[in-house]
């Protein structure tokens, strides 16, 4: 039996997902014995033409990390979809937009202005902004078009499986790869490498008094490592976030930021967390409630840190 063919790709992301795969360490050697890695731009030099030359559906499974933020991301997504039997959205960005999708709270113009004009370290006296095409004497140069709205992989092409996390924890990655090698797969559309229950299920902190009387930010305090973050006033996305990571952030005494995305019965992770959090506000009068609500920093950034592209609203109005 021929070894299954596997591919990895990196779109709009930080590269952490690639590191997550390296984290497999020596296990990676075992993997490479079981599979043929036919495409992995982070490791080997590949040209588009190499990929284009492959017959359709010749790759058994592609792990695609990163969100879709420019035309190159999109092109690669479409190409890999054509060439792959199974396409896996790997990591929070591909799954739900991730950090790049926070760009959806602003616009392309604002991003360009900020990046190419306003930042103090920018040296751009002519105020040149990126152009998709530019004529130089050697000929025409092109760069990909930067999109106004960041999308998830499945908002661009059909996706078979999801592996959430920023990045997915090594242990889960290895399990997922084993699953593919063994061909032991759940129905299409499933989330792999994560739990069916929220992070609270695996969090060891004690939960006693579900009430929040003030909001505290992480830099303002050193949390009690035994007590639930929420009960200390620190917004922890754990209740609305899939477990499976092993509560690693909480072990480091930091609250969950929500990278594993919404729970199976939940459509919109941020909306649900907002509801849960507000429900346990320890305030009865409108003024007190308003005060507490006003003290929640940056609601979109807090509740949709990793899932804005996947949320119901997807982006802000321009």
């Amino acid at each position: 039996m021929p070894k299954p063919k596997m591919a990895f790709n990196w779109a709009s992301s930080c590269g952490g997902c690639e590191i997550a795969i390296f984290e497999l360490g020596t296990k990676l050697v075992d993997v490479s014995k079981k599979v043929d890695i036919v495409f992995w731009p982070a490791i080997f030099d590949y040209k588009y033409s190499d990929l284009e030359a492959m017959p359709d559906k010749s790759i058994d499974v592609t792990f695609f990390n990163g969100a879709i933020q420019n035309s190159e991301n999109e092109h690669m997504a479409r190409l890999l979809r054509e060439k792959s039997k199974l396409l896996v959205a790997f990591g929070a960005c591909a799954h739900s937009g991730g950090i790049p999708a926070l760009a959806n709270t602003t616009t392309r113009d604002q991003i360009f202005t900020s990046s190419y004009k306003d930042t103090p370290t920018t040296d751009n006296p002519e105020k040149v902004l990126p152009q998709t095409r530019v004529q130089v004497k050697e000929g025409e140069l092109t760069i990909p078009e930067f999109y106004n709205t960041v999308k998830t992989l499945d908002q661009t092409v059909d996706v078979d499986y999801y592996v959430p996390g920023c990045p997915p924890v090594g242990e889960q990655v290895s399990k997922v790869i084993d699953q593919f090698v063994a061909g032991d797969l759940p129905p299409k559309g499933s989330v792999l490498g994560a739990s069916q229950k929220s992070l609270c299920h695996e969090c060891k902190r004690t939960k006693t008094n579900r009430k929040i009387s003030k909001i505290v930010r992480t830099f303002q305090t050193i949390p009690d490592p035994e007590k639930c973050m929420l009960e200390q006033g620190i917004i922890c996305m754990g209740p609305a976030t899939r477990g499976g990571c092993g509560a690693v952030c909480l072990d480091a005494n930091m609250p969950c930021r929500g990278c594993y995305g919404p729970l199976p019965n939940v459509v919109d992770q941020g909306g649900k967390m907002l509801s849960a959090l507000a429900s346990i506000f320890d305030a009865e009068s409108e003024e007190d409630i308003q005060k507490l609500a006003d003290s929640v920093p940056d609601p979109i950034g807090t509740f949709y840190r990793f899932s804005l592209a996947r949320s119901l609203m997807r982006r802000t109005k321009q």
Binding site: S198, C200, H201, P239, G243, L263, N265, A276, S279, I280
Partner: protein, 652 residues
């Protein structure tokens, strides 16, 4: 399985059809997914209308039914029953309200029809996700709580107790009897209030099935229909009800007299007192505010003279819990505070009095032993009766207090009967709707009473001529003559209106009753369910629902009793299955929901690590469902899928 949905668009005669194109809506419905039957019909709630639905279920094999007609508050039960008759689970039925919130609010046929389509569309999309539900039955506790011992509460208590059921009658005052006990005669028959009321009060006091809890109030009321728990505060009387025989020795010997509330401050009572001689229970109460022992630490005369050793200064407030299956709230009314109408000078002119003060004056056992006298002891030579004080007045209460016209006529009659005084009645309209009422008005017209139509502008002591000197001058336009009259009189009686009690809001909160705009308790339906409330098993009777005279209050007391008895006789009550359920496989034990339930229905099961809902305690508000960050809690018949389907249909 693909659902087969039947949709029925009701014309409701012309109520809906006038502004909604029912045919078009039915046509639209037929185009919706899985709709196999869509019909419009003149009166869907009629027998043939219901038959039509049943037939379609049987013959076309409908698995879901939508009726678009009136509000579900009106006919949801009717159609659920019809659907169940045809063998379909009643919760597979969905009602779409295209009357109260569609056809009746618009005159634009095009817009109303569009709106009706949206409403029907939402119901059709939702009904897809409706699930068959079983109605839970729980035993009905036959005990009944009645709050308020006025005539309405007394009537209800006796009716229920006579049928062999146990009644807890809670009264705030030291005695039952309410306002009626303070009246002299009653209109239009002029029979004496005490003669008809006191026998009933005595029956209440002696009835083996009635536990009378006077000088007490309800502080908490929890549970659900069939199984309520009422917490009752028993204020200390400082007299042992068991030992006291009601001999009255203590009252006679008590050295301290204070103004009597029962007599509107016109007479005196002792610091240990019964509000009036026929009080039930006959046990007196010590007024802690004034009693010399409580204020100065000396006296104890009552204790010394009590032949039974019933005085107990050590008595403390205590709370008792009683279990009941239903409750009747008959807390009555407050009188309008006449001093609010400054131009009538109540509180400034001693001889301007309220109608209740007049009742006490003319009452045979009142402070003047029934003599109608001025503050200086003289008999008045002229008396004015001013109607609608605080009623039918945008500055105070917009509504008509209903009883004032008739009691004002009674006052006029009593003044004429007992004195030679000239009597003037100032009225806006004479409202004499009731059996024998118009006849009573006619009788008064013949009793030489002067009627002047028009609202009184002011009552003043500023005289303009010698005939007005030393008199109270009633200034009013006579709208029949179109002149302003100035009538000098000796005494003015203000016919004050009835208002919701000052503690009505508190009572409403305890029993979770809504109130209408004017502050009175809101009935479930103004015509068809006048003594029911939105809360199952909780009924209202008498003037706490709105101003009422004695016959109406008695009728409501009896009606509430009948409602309660019918409930008790069913032995079981059905609970709405719209409760919340936790999917244990999805619950991650984050405990967000635990503290949110006002009924403590959610607990945490430590061994299994997930939350548990006790179905019987859940009232189905859905607060926990909206809060659950795992989406592990669902509310039956209000699932996320059902509500989202409605949202999607409306926004489509």
């Amino acid at each position: 399985m693909v659902e087969k949905i039947g949709v029925y668009i009701c014309h409701c005669g012309t109520n809906i059809a006038r502004t909604v194109d029912c045919k078009a809506v039915a046509g639209y419905a037929l185009g919706l997914p899985n709709v196999v039957v869509a019909r419009d019909y003149l009166y869907t709630c009629s027998d043939p209308g219901q038959e039509m639905i049943k037939n379609d279920i049987r013959e076309s094999g409908l698995t879901r039914v939508v009726v678009a007609s009136c509000s579900p508050l009106m006919h949801e039960t009717t159609f659920r029953r019809a659907v169940a008759d045809a063998g379909l689970n009643p919760f597979l039925f969905q009602m779409a309200n295209i009357r109260e919130q569609c056809s009746w609010i618009s005159e634009n046929r095009e817009l109303a029809t569009t709106r009706a389509k949206a409403i029907v569309g939402a119901a059709v999309m939702r009904v897809e996700f409706n699930e068959p539900l079983e109605v839970q039955k729980v035993p009905m506790n036959p005990n009944v709580l009645i709050v308020g011992g006025g005539i309405a509460g007394i009537e209800a208590a006796l009716q229920i107790a006579d049928s062999g059921k146990r009644v807890y009658l809670v009264e705030k005052e030291p005695t039952i009897g309410g306002y009626m006990a303070r009246f002299d005669k009653t209109f239009p028959t002029l029979d004496c209030a005490a003669c008809i009321l006191t026998p009933k009060m005595v029956s209440v006091g002696q009835h083996p099935n009635i536990e009378l809890l006077s000088y007490s109030d309800v502080t908490d009321f929890s549970g659900y229909v069939g199984n309520f728990t009422a917490r009752i505060r028993r204020r200390p009387r400082y007299v042992d009800e068991e030992k006291c025989t009601g001999c009255g020795q203590c009252e006679q010997k008590c050295p301290l007299s204070v103004l009597s509330e029962f007599d509107c401050g016109l007479g005196k009572r002792k610091a240990i007192y019964r509000p009036f001689p026929q009080a039930v229970p006959s046990t007196p109460v010590i007024d802690r505010e004034h009693c010399l022992f409580f204020t100065k630490g000396v006296c104890r005369v009552c204790e010394k003279f009590c032949p039974r050793g019933a005085i107990n200064f050590e008595q403390k407030e205590r709370f008792i819990d009683v279990q009941v299956g239903s409750a009747i709230i008959a807390t009555g009314f407050d009188l309008f505070d006449a001093s609010r109408v400054k131009e009538y000078g109540y509180g400034k002119f001693p001889n301007v009095i309220t109608s209740l003060e007049f009742e006490r004056l003319t009452h045979a056992s009142g402070p003047t032993v029934g003599k109608i006298v001025l503050k200086n002891g003289r008999t008045p030579e002229s008396v004015a009766v001013v109607h609608c004080v605080g009623s039918r007045d945008n500055n105070y209460n917009e509504y008509c207090s209903r009883v004032c016209c008739m009691y004002s006529l009674k006052i006029a009659h009593l003044v004429r009967e007992k004195t030679d005084a000239k009597v003037y009645e100032f009225y806006i309209d004479m409202r004499a709707a009731g059996k024998g009422y118009e006849e009573f008005y006619k009788r008064l017209l013949r009793e030489d009473v002067t009627f002047s139509r028009g609202r009184v502008a002011e009552i003043t002591d500023v005289a303009q001529n010698s005939s007005e000197n030393g008199k109270l001058i009633v200034v009013a336009e006579d709208t029949l003559l179109s002149i302003v009259k100035r009538i000098p009189v000796d005494m003015v009686i203000l016919s004050v209106g009835l208002e919701a009690r000052r503690d009505a809001l508190q009572v409403a909160h305890i029993f979770r009753i809504s109130r209408s705009k004017d502050g009175f308790f809101l009935e479930k339906h103004p015509k068809l369910a006048p003594v029911s409330t939105a809360g199952d098993g909780i009924f209202i009777a008498g003037s706490c629902q709105g101003p009422k005279d004695i016959p109406d209050s008695v009728a409501q007391g009896a009606a509430a009793a009948a409602n309660v008895l019918s409930l008790i006789d069913r032995k079981e009550v059905e609970l709405e299955p719209t409760i919340a359920l936790i999917d244990e496989d999805s619950c991650s034990g984050c405990k967000i929901c635990i503290g949110l339930c006002p009924y403590n229905a959610i607990s945490f099961d430590e061994p299994s690590g997930h939350a548990v809902i006790t179905g019987a305690l859940c009232k189905g508000c859905g607060v926990c469902v909206a809060a659950c960050p795992s989406g592990a809690i669902e509310q039956q018949n209000f699932t996320n899928r059902q509500l989202t389907a409605e949202v999607e249909a409306i926004c489509a």
